[in-house]
């Protein structure tokens, strides 16, 4: 998503990240990754719960497929230090229209199941401006 800022902007979308950390830690994370989007700091994961994003069980986290995806992500340089936040918390992406309706929800069953920028851009067409 980092390199798609102009594309999302031209599509009329506002991208906002949510992180499980304090405002200061979110700022540091955004700085390290050069994120061009604003971030919401949610250290207690309250917003995660409001959107019904699940946590993995320890058994799920230790499943070979999940471990392989994690190793693969590290090998691609996605790791930026010691994990901070709830390592069992699953991510998610929600596309929300101008009236507050959730048009699309990408809720993976494991941490590697995130949508591509193209998937999210396609979902914008399901979510016309009010």
């Amino acid at each position: 998503l980092r390199s798609e800022e102009t594309t999302f902007s031209e599509a009329g979308a506002r991208v906002v990240f949510v992180g499980m950390a304090s405002p200061a830690d979110c700022r540091e994370f955004a700085r390290k990754l050069d994120l061009p989007y604003p971030m919401i700091a949610d250290p207690q994961r309250e917003l995660y719960r409001m959107f019904h994003l699940a946590r993995m069980s320890p058994l799920q986290a230790a499943a070979p497929g999940v471990l392989l995806k994690g190793i693969s992500a590290l090998a691609r340089g996605h790791g930026i230090g010691f994990p901070q936040g709830d390592v069992l918390q699953l991510p998610g992406v929600f596309v929300i229209g101008t009236g507050g309706r959730i048009c699309r929800a990408f809720v993976p069953v494991d941490p590697g199941g995130h949508p591509s920028p193209g998937d999210i851009l396609a979902a914008l067409s399901d979510c016309p401006a009010a």
Partner: protein
């Protein structure tokens, strides 16, 4: 930080909770301010690191 009392549940494909949130720059907002004039793509990250 979102106020827990605002909305406890969001039905799949229903309305998003209009939670109070704290942005990384230290300012506060409500989610409805973020979706008011543009489609909002809300990306929940995994842990940092």
């Amino acid at each position: 930080m979102p106020a827990r009392s605002e909305v406890d549940a969001v039905a799949p494909y229903g309305r998003a909770p209009d939670a109070a949130v704290e942005l990384a720059d230290g300012s506060s907002s409500r989610l409805s301010r973020l979706w008011r004039d543009a489609t909002l793509v809300l990306v929940f990250l995994r842990h940092f690191g």
